[in-house]
């Protein structure tokens, strides 16, 4: 396809994101809301939909939903009403999902998406609260399908964007920005692998300049942001080919095949469900007080983009450094805590963006799981900066701190890692090294300073890394050049 042919069409993308809240209990019962438990252990008569049971709304789930609505700049519906979405599926124990139809918690919001092309505002159509369904596990060996209802009743927020994205890359950037905003709210771990964040994509193409929307495909089974982008790119090409060939695009739901990197048709519009929404009679609608919403608004954490600007200004951090910190709210909070006790911000930043991040990536773990206190961390940085230990030894100590939970000073003391800065002691080592390396010593005397590093290295070896390398350099020079 030529570039000119591609320019004939405009791509239109809208995304539906499902976010699981990590509340202590489920949305309509007291069951623990935990991932990864043995099948059907986090269940009770209510979330199993046993006859006679009734739902009771979890207030924290509602609070989280309002939080998300506000963070996405939505108008908040204080009239809280739930509806039943009726359909049959074995993972849906009641035969209906309790959701919100005509009064979503939030509507008409937006987020500003930063990308390489600059900032773009993507509008949020609506954001509503509902319950998650269970999970089917297919046992092909025994030709059985098993149902795990642990996930049933997990509080879920559906965030529907307007069809404002014009390229797969924009969709990718939108998802990253949205995820970051949601992470800052601390209402979910936003982990796609665990299914706490999920995404369906709607895409259509239309002739450039046309304002009416084209026929869309809905893509499901997207298990990563990269998959969203790849699937959308695949669909752009598929739609283009159809349109250029004068063939009609069929409105349908398609499944992304990660292995083959293609989409397959799943069901057409004609086969789509009629969900027969109607008001959930088991939950009485009520009006949340304006004060409640205002209180939540006041307690909203700083948005990532605001934090980025502030970090750069307040701590004079470089774009690059601040950006890395902001990508993880825990990390940037940790930075700020450290910055209270240690004023060399750039150094803290280097330590966080270096060893700390490396450690997190290697262990695939969160900052919280590293068990690192700001106090211990600053102490370590101080020890390195004072010259008590070298940078290299400092990094070793850091790993030991994480392994043992001990403070840097304790490790230095118990393992005798402090740099030897005592002149007398160092002179003995230096003399020995000069004696043993007469050739190198002569070179320095001749003005070939390249050999200095070698002699420092030899001395370090002799001191088992405990010597202060700067002092060593000075000493060796003085011995050979002044003496």
């Amino acid at each position: 396809m030529t570039a000119i042919e591609q320019e004939k069409f405009e791509t239109v993308i809208g995304l539906e994101v499902h976010l699981q809240f990590h509340t202590k209990s489920k949305i309509f019962c007291a069951c623990a809301n935990q991932f990864g438990q043995a099948p059907n252990t986090n269940t009770c008569p209510v979330c199993l939909g046993l006859p006679g049971t009734l739902p009771v709304l979890n207030k924290t789930a509602l609070e989280y939903a309002i939080k998300v609505g506000l963070a996405l700049h939505c108008e908040i519906n204080t009239f809280i009403k739930f509806d039943r979405k009726n359909y049959y599926y074995p993972d849906l124990p009641k035969g209906y999902q309790i959701s919100q139809y005509d009064y979503p918690i939030g509507r008409n919001g937006y987020i500003d998406v930063l990308s390489e092309q600059g900032a773009k505002r993507i509008r949020i159509h609506r954001a509503h609260l509902e319950e998650d369904a269970g999970k089917l596990i297919h046992d092909s060996n025994n030709k059985l399908s098993l149902v795990d209802y642990n996930r049933t009743g997990t509080p879920l927020m559906e965030i529907v964007s307007e069809p404002d994205m014009r390229a797969p890359q924009e969709a990718y950037d939108y998802l990253n920005t949205l995820k970051l905003i949601l992470q800052y709210l601390r209402v979910s771990d936003c982990d796609m692998e665990k299914g706490s964040l999920r995404c369906d994509a709607n895409i259509s193409l239309r002739p450039a300049g046309e304002t009416k929307l084209g026929v869309k495909s809905e893509i499901k089974n997207l298990n990563s942001f990269r998959a969203v982008k790849a699937a959308l790119e695949y669909e752009v090409t598929r739609h283009q080919r159809l349109l250029l060939a004068g063939k009609p695009v069929v409105q349908e739901t398609r499944l992304w095949d990660e292995q083959e990197q293609v989409t397959h048709a799943m069901r057409s519009k004609e086969e789509a469900h009629d969900y027969r929404y109607f008001p959930e009679p088991d939950l009485v609608p009520f009006t949340a007080s304006k004060n409640v919403v205002e209180d939540i608004r006041q307690s909203l954490p700083e948005a990532p983009q605001d934090k980025l600007a502030r970090l750069k200004k307040q701590y004079e951090l470089a774009d690059y450094d601040a950006n890395i910190l902001v990508q993880d709210p825990d990390l940037s909070d940790f930075f700020e805590e450290c910055a209270k006790g240690f004023k060399s911000y750039k150094k803290i930043c280097n330590w966080i963006n270096g060893p700390v991040l490396q450690e997190m990536n290697q262990k695939k773990t969160s900052l919280a799981d590293l068990n690192l206190s700001a106090k211990n961390f600053i102490e370590l940085i101080e020890k390195v900066e004072e010259g008590t230990v070298s940078q290299l030894v400092g990094k070793d100590i850091f790993k030991k701190m994480l392994d043992t939970g001990r403070a840097a000073s304790e490790i230095i003391e118990s393992e005798g890692l402090a740099q030897v800065s005592d002149h007398k002691a160092l002179e003995r080592f230096v003399d020995q090294v000069i004696a043993n390396n007469a050739k190198a010593a002569q070179e320095i005397k001749d003005g070939k300073m390249q050999a200095l590093g070698f002699l420092i290295g030899q001395t370090m070896k002799l001191t088992q890394g405990k010597a202060n390398p700067k002092m060593l350099g000075d000493l060796i020079k003085r011995r050979l050049l002044d003496g």
């Binding site: 006859p51 027969r276 009485v284």
Partner: protein, 484 residues
């Protein structure tokens, strides 16, 4: 007199004095059940051994076994709404009302028969076969709580609980000559009541007299954190409030409820009851409830819509019946759903699920469900307006006395019309009681219905009590023949 012929408040006094043991009451009930339930068939299960708590704080003064409709969950005991699809379902929990009763030392005597999922007005739609009216075994006991009403009328139970969605407590109470109360929506917890129509369902007492109804309502009413639709409003001491006389009370007589279709015998009895109320100091006022004619249609739209959704969970996946598709079909999950539901649900059940599904479907929702909700609001406003003027409203419970078994079984529409006078209380949420107000020439009980303002069961029961004591119909008992 055998203990099973006494009321709960009489027995409670005897229990207090130590003149009777709970076991003795149970034995007499058992005898009566063994003697008559073969012909009445009020029960689908009677519990053999009842355990009575010893030495509870209130000396077990209420340890009088109770009969429970088959749609109210009793822990560990089959609660199946008399439907094949739920046969064998033993809930691992008690309904809140059962828990409350058990906490007071009141054991469950057994589960009573009902129309499948409470869909019906005759207790003929039960997978366990029909219940018969103790006053005439060829007649229906009414429904859907026909088993509970028949058990009380036949003195096979001292007291019972049922559920009322469109008249399912009051109409059988009327047909069987006992007292039945549909409390205000939200007065009694629905937790553990297997739902028919969630916005209409209420659990309520079926008893031999008004005092027992007041006593039982007191035991089961109150806010339940497990039911968001239950009201957090204090429960008055109903029995204590019965005695105050009726002077100064105003009662409304809605002319829309005394029209064509009303059996003249019923009309006469109800009008005599109104005269009796006047002699007790009640002032009567002619009122109008202009939207009455839309009640039945509105009810059958809303109730079936909610029912179609409430019954979706019976799909064969988790509990109750599961059918493998017949050989001609694929063995897909949809085939399993369809086969299970096709075989598990009875005719009336399927009819209502289909009606409800239709009125919620896209394209029909506005014309049916949504319009139904709007008319419901108008019906409610009729009552709000009326209650600005009066303290209670009096009308017949049912346009006729009990009809013959099989008479309306193949005519759903005429069956639906037998609830024409009871439905409005469910649609508007107000409390209503049915109590005997006479007998037809053929000896069948006639029911009087008294409705009151939301959460004013106290006034309603007080009025019912004074009328009952004056009229004395409660003393009449059916002359049951032992089964040949």
């Amino acid at each position: 007199m055998p203990y099973n012929e006494l009321t709960a408040h009489d027995l409670s006094e005897l229990l207090q004095k130590g003149d009777v043991t709970p076991e003795a009451v149970y034995q007499d009930l058992r005898q009566q059940i063994l003697k008559h339930d073969n012909s009445v068939h009020a029960y689908v299960r009677v519990n053999d051994a009842l355990s009575f708590k010893k030495d509870t704080a209130d000396k077990n003064t209420l340890a009088i076994p109770i009969a429970v409709k088959h749609n109210i969950c009793v822990k560990g005991e089959e609660t199946a709404c008399c439907s094949n699809i739920l046969k064998g379902f033993k809930p691992p929990y008690d309904a809140t009302v059962i828990q409350k009763l058990k906490n007071r030392g009141i054991p469950v005597l057994g589960h009573t028969n009902m129309d499948e999922f409470a869909f019906g007005s005759s207790t003929e739609n039960s997978c366990y076969g029909p219940t018969r009216n103790p006053w005439n075994l060829d007649c229906v006991p009414g429904g859907s709580s026909g088993g509970s009403a028949a058990a009380v009328a036949a003195q096979e139970a001292i007291w019972a609980i049922g559920s009322d969605t469109g008249g399912s407590i009051r109409q059988p109470a009327s047909f069987c000559g006992v007292v039945g109360v549909k409390p205000t929506y939200g007065r009694v917890s629905r937790y553990g009541l297997i739902a028919f129509a969630s916005s209409l369902d209420q659990i309520g007492p079926i008893t031999k007299d008004v005092r027992d109804a007041a006593l039982l309502l007191n035991l089961i009413a109150g806010h339940d954190p497990r039911d968001s639709t239950s009201a957090d409003i204090p429960v008055p001491d109903y029995p204590a409030l019965l005695d105050k006389d009726l002077h100064g009370l105003k009662v409304g007589i809605p002319h829309e409820y005394f029209v064509e279709g009303l059996d003249p015998e019923v009309e006469t009895a109800v009008k005599e009851a109104i005269e009796a109320l006047k002699t007790l100091g009640v002032q009567t006022v002619d009122i109008s409830l202009p939207h009455t004619e839309y009640c039945v249609a509105t009810y059958y739209i809303i109730a079936t819509a909610e029912a179609s959704s409430n019954l979706a969970r019976y799909d064969g996946v988790r509990h109750g019946l599961r059918c493998r598709p017949s050989q001609t079909r694929k063995n897909s999950i949809t085939d399993m759903f369809e086969e299970t539901r096709a075989r598990g649900f009875g005719e009336e059940c399927k009819r209502r699920v289909m009606l409800g599904t239709f009125s919620l479907s896209s394209g029909y929702y506005d014309a049916f469900y949504l319009r139904g909700q709007k008319v419901r609001t108008l019906i409610k406003q009729d009552f709000d307006r009326a209650f600005k003027e009066v303290d209670a409203i009096v009308m017949p419970t049912s346009p006729t006395t009990a009809f013959k078994i099989g008479e309306k079984a193949n005519d759903p529409l005429s069956m639906y019309l037998s609830d024409i006078y009871t439905i409005s209380a469910n649609l508007s949420g107000i409390p209503a009681v049915s109590m005997p107000c006479g007998f037809s020439k053929s000896g069948m009980p006639i029911g009087l219905q008294i409705c009151a303002k939301p959460f004013d069961e106290a006034t309603m029961l007080r009025m019912a009590y004074h009328y009952e004591q004056k009229a004395g119909w409660y003393k009449h008992k059916p002359g049951l023949e032992e089964k040949r």
